[in-house]
C-alpha cells in the first residue's frame, strides 16, 4: 500500500519551448486506481515514465508514503510499468517472461516456478507457461504482461492504455480482471488513457490533463455533472454551450430565463447540458420548456441524434427513438432542459 504524491511535477524536454508537463500536483491515495486522462501528447505518458524513473524529472517532487524517490534508480523503485503494446520479450516463453522480475532479484529457480504458476492461475492462463508470446492472442498477451508486473508485488503499478488494444467484449473482461486483482492486492495503480470511456469504466478517480496541465481531478461522475470548464466538458463529449449569466438561481441567456439547480453562484458563464439529458417531443416537460426547429435527425439504433435550433443557438440532442419518431426535419418540436442536468462553466 503506497500513497503517491506528485508535487509540481514538471518536464521540459531539451530544445522544447513549452513544458511537456507543467507543475502537475496529485495526491493518489493508497490502493486507489487513478486514471491520467488526456489527448495524445498531453504529457500523461511522460508522467508515468517519470514515476517509473525512466525519464529524468525537470523539477518538482515525487513522494511515495512521504519519502522522495527521485534519487532511486528505476530498478529500485519497485514501480512496474505495463506498456500499451505489452512488450513481452519475444524470445522468452510466457513463464520466463512472467518470472523475469524475480530472476532479476536472484530468487531461487523453484520459488520462481512456484510463483509463476500461482500468478498464471490468477490471470486465468494456467496452461500457457511454455508458449511463446507470439502464439498468444492480444488479450492473453495483456494478461501475461499484467502477471509479469504483479508477480514482483510492485508498490505502484503503471498501465499504459490498458484497454485500448482490446475488442469491445474483451474490454469488460479485462476491466474486471484489472479491478479485481488491483483491489485484492491493494496496489496503488495509475493508468493513462486518451479515451474518456476507458477512464470512466476503470478508474476510482480521473485526472484530466490538457496541454500539460491538470484541469480537474475528480470522480468520473463529477466530470459529467460538474465539468470545471468548457474544454473539460467538451473532452467528455458535451457540445452544448450557451452564453449568459447566472442570477438568483436562474440563467439569463438567448434561450430565455432557464431555471438552474441549487448552489450555482451568480455571474457570467456558459450554460452546459449533456445531449442525452434533454427531453424532446412527447417527453418534454414543462420546466425550462422551449420550442426548437429540427435541423437534422439521425437514427442510431438505440438513440436518435438530433440537431435543433432555438433562436440562434444550435443544440445537440440524443433522444430515445420512441420520443423522436414523430419529429421530422424542418418542423418544430418542444424540448425541455431538466434543471438537475444543468451546469454552468465559467
Amino acid at each position: 500500500m503506497t500513497h503517491v504524491s506528485l508535487q509540481e511535477l514538471t518536464k521540459v524536454y531539451p530544445g522544447a519551448t513549452a513544458p511537456a508537463l507543467d507543475r502537475l500536483s496529485l495526491e493518489i491515495a493508497s490502493g486507489e486506481l487513478t486514471a491520467l486522462l488526456g489527448p495524445s501528447g498531453c504529457g500523461k505518458t511522460t508522467t508515468m515514465k517519470m514515476i517509473a524513473g525512466l525519464l529524468p524529472v525537470s523539477s518538482g517532487e515525487i513522494n511515495f508514503d512521504g519519502k522522495s524517490i527521485l534519487r532511486e534508480k528505476p530498478e529500485n523503485r519497485n514501480v512496474v510499468m505495463v506498456f500499451q503494446n505489452y512488450l513481452l520479450f519475444p524470445y522468452m516463453s510466457v513463464a520466463d517472461n512472467i518470472g523475469f522480475g524475480l530472476k532479476m532479484r536472484k530468487l531461487p529457480k523453484d520459488e520462481i516456478a512456484r510463483r509463476v504458476a500461482e500468478i498464471l492461475a490468477l490471470v486465468r492462463l494456467p496452461d500457457l507457461g511454455a508458449r511463446k508470446p507470439k502464439e498468444l492472442s492480444g488479450g492473453q498477451q495483456q494478461r501475461v504482461a499484467l502477471a509479469r508486473a504483479l508477480i514482483v508485488q510492485p508498490r505502484v503499478l503503471l498501465l499504459d492504455e490498458p484497454l485500448s488494444n482490446l475488442d469491445a467484449h474483451l474490454r469488460f473482461e479485462m476491466r474486471d480482471l484489472i479491478r479485481n486483482l488491483q483491489q485484492e492486492m491493494g496496489i496503488t495503480t495509475i493508468f493513462v488513457t486518451h479515451d474518456q470511456e476507458e477512464a470512466v469504466v476503470l478508474a476510482d478517480r480521473i485526472a484530466l490533463i490538457l496541454d500539460g496541465r491538470l484541469k480537474q481531478y475528480d470522480s468520473a461522475e463529477a466530470f459529467y455533472r460538474r465539468p470545471i470548464d468548457e474544454a473539460t466538458a467538451r473532452f467528455f463529449g458535451s457540445h452544448n454551450f450557451v452564453g449568459g449569466a447566472v442570477s438568483d438561481g436562474a440563467f439569463d441567456s438567448p434561450l430565455g430565463r432557464i431555471v438552474l439547480p441549487n448552489g450555482i453562484a451568480d455571474g457570467p458563464g456558459k450554460l452546459t447540458f449533456r445531449p442525452e439529458n434533454l427531453r424532446i417531443g412527447p417527453a418534454a416537460e414543462s420546466e425550462n420548456r422551449l420550442t426548437a426547429t429540427v435541423l437534422s435527425k439521425i437514427y442510431l439504433g438505440t438513440q436518435t441524434r438530433l440537431r435543433v435550433q432555438v433562436g440562434d443557438e444550435v443544440i445537440e440532442v440524443l433522444a430515445n427513438p420512441n420520443d423522436a419518431t414523430e419529429i421530422a426535419e424542418g418542423e418544430t418540436a418542444p424540448i425541455s432542459l431538466p434543471a438537475p442536468a444543468l451546469w454552468v462553466v465559467r
Binding site: K49, A52, G53, L54, K73, P74, E75, N76, R77, N78, V79, V80, M81, F83, N85, L87, F89, P90, Y91, F100, G101, K103, M104, R105, R148, A149, V152, L158
Partner: protein, 285 residues
C-alpha cells in the same frame, strides 16, 4: 496472362544470370576440380586435385590462417560494433560526426583500406616513423611486424576498420527500431543496466548481429585483394593460394585451384544456411 506465367517471365532475366553465371561457374569449377571437362578433351574424372590439395600441408596452413582471419575479424568487429552502437544511440557531441564517418567508411573499398593500413603499420610506415621519432626504435626492422606477418594482424586490422562500421550501422538501426521500451520494461521489473543489456537488449539484437556476421565471415574468408596486399607470402590466405595455383605456369595446378575454390564455396554454403536461419523474415520486410 496467368500469374504463373507472369512470375516466370518476371524471374527469367535474373534467374538466367544466377543460373548461367553463378551456378554455371560453380558447376564448371566443380567439373574442372575433378579433371573433367569434355570441351577441352578431359573425359576421365578423377580425385587427383583433391588428393593433392588435402595432402599438402600448405593447404591446411592456408585454411587455418584464413579461418583465423575470418573468425577473429568477425568476432572483434561484432563486439566493437555492438559497443559503438550502444554509444551512438544516445545524443552527444560528436555523434553525428562518427555516424558520418561510419557511413563514409562503408563506401570506401576494402582495397583502399588495405593500402592505408599498409602505409600505417608496415615497418617503414607512419607508426614505425612515430616510434622512431620518440626514440623507441632505430631501424624499420625494430618495429614489430604487423603486416606480412604470420598472425595476419594487418589483415585483421583492415577488416576491423571496415566491418565495425558495417555491423555497427546494422546493429544501430536494429536498436533504433526496437526503441528503448523493452529495456524500460526490464528496468521497471527490477533489472539493473547490465542485466537489462544481457537479458533483454542482447537477445533482441543477436539475430541482426548474426546475419551481419555471416556476411562478414564469408567475405573475409573469400576476399583476395586484402590478404594479397597485407598478407605474408607463406602461408598465404586460401583465395590467394587458389589464385596462385590458377595462374601457375604449370597448367596441371589449375584443378587444384578449382578444388580450393570448391572448399571456399562449401564453407560459404554453410554460411548461407546460417544466414537464412537468421534473416528469413527480413527478405519479406
Amino acid at each position: 496472362m496467368s500469374d504463373r506465367w507472369k512470375i516466370i517471365l518476371l524471374l527469367t532475366p535474373a534467374m538466367s544470370v544466377i543460373v548461367l553465371l553463378f551456378l554455371g561457374g560453380l558447376a564448371l569449377g566443380l567439373m574442372r576440380s575433378f579433371n573433367y571437362m569434355p570441351i577441352i578433351g578431359l573425359i576421365n574424372p578423377n580425385f587427383d586435385a583433391y588428393l593433392a590439395v588435402f595432402t599438402s600441408s600448405e593447404f591446411y596452413l592456408s585454411f587455418l590462417l584464413t579461418f583465423h582471419i575470418a573468425f577473429t575479424s568477425t568476432a572483434i568487429s561484432c563486439v566493437l560494433a555492438i559497443g559503438a552502437a550502444l554509444l551512438l544511440r544516445r545524443t552527444f557531441v560528436g555523434r553525428s560526426l562518427i555516424n558520418f564517418l561510419f557511413q563514409l567508411n562503408l563506401t570506401v573499398p576494402h582495397l583502399v583500406g588495405a593500402v592505408g593500413i599498409l602505409y600505417l603499420f608496415s615497418q617503414s610506415g607512419s607508426f614505425a616513423r612515430l616510434a622512431n621519432e620518440f626514440g623507441m626504435i632505430e631501424r624499420p626492422s625494430d618495429f614489430p611486424a604487423l603486416v606480412f606477418d604470420p598472425f595476419a594482424i594487418g589483415i585483421i586490422l583492415q577488416y576491423v576498420w571496415k566491418e565495425v562500421p558495417f555491423i555497427g550501422v546494422i546493429v544501430l538501426a536494429n536498436m533504433q527500431s526496437l526503441g528503448e521500451d523493452y529495456e524500460s520494461v526490464a528496468r521497471s521489473l527490477g533489472a539493473n543496466k547490465w542485466q537489462s543489456f544481457i537479458h533483454v537488449l542482447l537477445p533482441l539484437i543477436i539475430p541482426g548481429v548474426l546475419s551481419a556476421s555471416v556476411i562478414v565471415f564469408a567475405f573475409t574468408f573469400g576476399a583476395f585483394e586484402i590478404p594479397a596486399i597485407l598478407g605474408a607470402n607463406f602461408p598465404a590466405a586460401l583465395p590467394v593460394l587458389a589464385f596462385r595455383k590458377f595462374t601457375d605456369v604449370d597448367l596441371a595446378a589449375r584443378p587444384e585451384a578449382m578444388a580450393m575454390a570448391m572448399v571456399i564455396a562449401l564453407l560459404s554454403a554453410v554460411m548461407i544456411f546460417f544466414y537464412i536461419r537468421y534473416t528469413r523474415q527480413k527478405f519479406r520486410n
